[in-house]
């Protein structure tokens, strides 16, 4: 009797330890090198609901073993009210541990964000709707796809032209390729932006807007991710097409990435800590 109870206790302990390890270590496919760039991507997160907090919890768990120091925000960072209290409930509180650990958030705005949010300091936008910055061998371009005017396009051309880093990564709210049925691809933006991206050798593009995860097969040499479910979720909304490489629309999700030399490793992780997609993008020298 005693022996039986002991076995059960040991089995329970082992199960608990294994579950915690799986939930806290979503980054098994990453090389996790000390000198690499590690970052997370979240889109359509700012609901203030339980889903956002649980995703934030998974990000915090992942950070313990995969020390990313950057989070790129793909827009719709805030839904509904956008008062100081909302900034606490929908941003500062869910990501408190990451902010405390010195993780830097770099936002782009979506159609539900207020234009004046460019001046909210923790978004690190410095009052600009679109901007660029460098981390290690990667040049990031945060764009405002809600208002893609001629001035922004002119700036983008010049900024891409001037970039000398190995990797060029663009992120903004509206996806150029998406097979979710609610919104789908923003073809008008694609016609405008894709030739510029191709011309200047953009490697990877992250977007949100559709509340699902989707990885699109490389289009004209560019890999596109839709990651718009870090708070919102449109369950079962995907209508995968031939160009869909992978997708997940059953739960909230976010992304982790590591850029090491000519390789970008990525994982999409669900609200329960399950890795729903992973892989590596190899950059060919231009």
């Amino acid at each position: 009797m005693i022996r039986s109870s002991g076995r059960r206790a040991i089995a329970f302990l082992l199960f608990a330890l294994t579950s915690a390890a799986v939930a806290g270590q979503p980054s098994r496919s990453f090389p996790n090198r000390t000198d690499s760039l590690k970052f997370a991507a979240i889109g359509d997160n700012g609901t203030g609901d339980r889903g956002q907090y649980e995703i934030a919890g998974q990000m915090e768990s992942a950070h313990a073993s995969f020390a990313f120091d950057l989070v790129i925000m793909l827009g719709d960072n805030m839904y509904g009210g956008q008062t100081p209290a909302d900034f606490v409930n929908k941003f500062e509180r869910p990501y408190a541990a990451l902010l405390k650990a010195g993780v830097k958030f770099q936002a782009s705005l979506g159609n539900h964000d207020r234009p004046e949010n460019v001046s909210y300091r923790p978004y690190n936008m410095n009052g600009e709707r679109y901007y660029t910055y460098t981390r290690k061998n990667v040049r990031f371009f945060a764009l405002d796809s809600t208002l893609m005017d001629a001035k922004q396009l002119e700036w983008l051309e010049a900024a891409l032209q001037a970039a000398r880093e190995d990797w060029k990564i663009c992120y903004f709210h509206h996806p150029l390729y998406s097979n979710a049925s609610r919104h789908g691809s923003s073809v008008d933006l694609r016609v405008t932006l894709e030739p510029i991206f191709v011309k200047h050798g953009v490697d990877v593009v992250f977007s949100g807007h559709d509340h699902v995860y989707e990885r699109v097969k490389p289009q004209k040499g560019i890999t596109y991710f839709v990651s718009g479910a870090a708070g919102q979720l449109r369950r079962g909304n995907m209508r995968p097409e031939e160009e869909t490489a992978a997708y997940f629309d059953q739960d909230q999700s976010f992304m982790l990435a590591e850029v090491s030399g000519n390789d970008l490793y990525y994982e999409a992780i669900s609200r329960t800590g399950k890795t729903v997609d992973s892989g590596v993008i190899h950059r060919t020298a231009r």
Partner: protein
Amino acid sequence: MASTGHKGAKKRRGLRHHVRTSVPRLSRFAVEHLLLLPLGALIALVWANTAPESYFTFTFAIAFGVNDVAMLFFFALMTKEVVEATAPDGVLHPWRRALLPIVASVGATAIPALIYVRAVLAFDEPMLAVLGWPVSLVTDLAIGYFVARIVFGRHPAIPFLLLLGIASDMIGFAILALLSATGERHLTGLPILAGAIAIAYGLRRARIRSFWPYLLGAGGVSWFGFFWSGLHPALALVPIVPFLPRAARDPGFFVDALPTAKDTLSQFEVWWRYPAQAALFFFGLVNAGVPIGAFEPGALGLPIAVILGKPVGVLVGAGVALLCGLPLPHKIGWRELIVGGLIASMGFSIGLFFSGALFPSGQLRSEISMGVLMSLVGAPLALAAAALLGVGRFHAEHAKERRE
């Protein structure tokens, strides 16, 4: 029995005469002023939702030529109508008559704008609310005139509504000039614009009768002045057209000039009437292709704002005008004002023009353009309201007259 048969024959003859005289004119008006734009818009809607890549590639390539150049002639011809109608011998003269609709237009623009902002913010689309409200100010004069003629026939409400629409559009264009982000703003554009007006004035003083020097000389300089100053260049002929010599008599609003007309303004119209209609077709094609996937609840903000706000705004504005001592025109009461407000809610061509001027291509432009297209529901609503309130053709006296 014979008498009844005679009466019946007389009634049928009367009806045939009525159809012969009024329907062809309205149907010709529909063909020449209304059909091509909706046709272009319909093709655009189908094309943008079935083969979006080719639609946007094609329309982006011709957008500048259509929106910034070809639409010059549409706005020039609209200006011609307004200039002729409000001139001393025009059908909308005297200006005293215009005072009440002008005061009413303040209500008819302010209240829809307020509702728009509140509604779109409630739909959680702050960027659309902040940038898109000027679209709620404007009225499509051509389609408004067409629906007003169907509802009112030859009622005094027609000139009232036209003046209301003109005043609302003028408020809208003034605000667009301040907010439009079509390009860089250069103050040096304003002296260029003044130079263009001076050229037009000089041509008028020199009694130049051909419209070409006005168009190519003054118009060309004006286009550059508008473009350089950051104003929408499609409006470049608006300050030039009033200088074109015109006939002594105004034939009426939207009444086409005869091909034999000798005055410069009529010759200009005869020459550019059909190119302007072609421009409208392409304008619909370029600007109305909204992908259904771009729909967000914020797109409903505009139709809600104009359907509710225009009638309420017209009533409030007219009430203020009455308090200021301005009399309502003959045969116009609160019922006519409500129906008129619903007619004025349709933005269509001017609304699409504003959405293109305020937003670059993308989701916000698609949403506001959807809203503009949805505002066309103002036409059936105006007819339904007219029937319900017994207004215009549905007025008991009018119906009795027609029966007799």
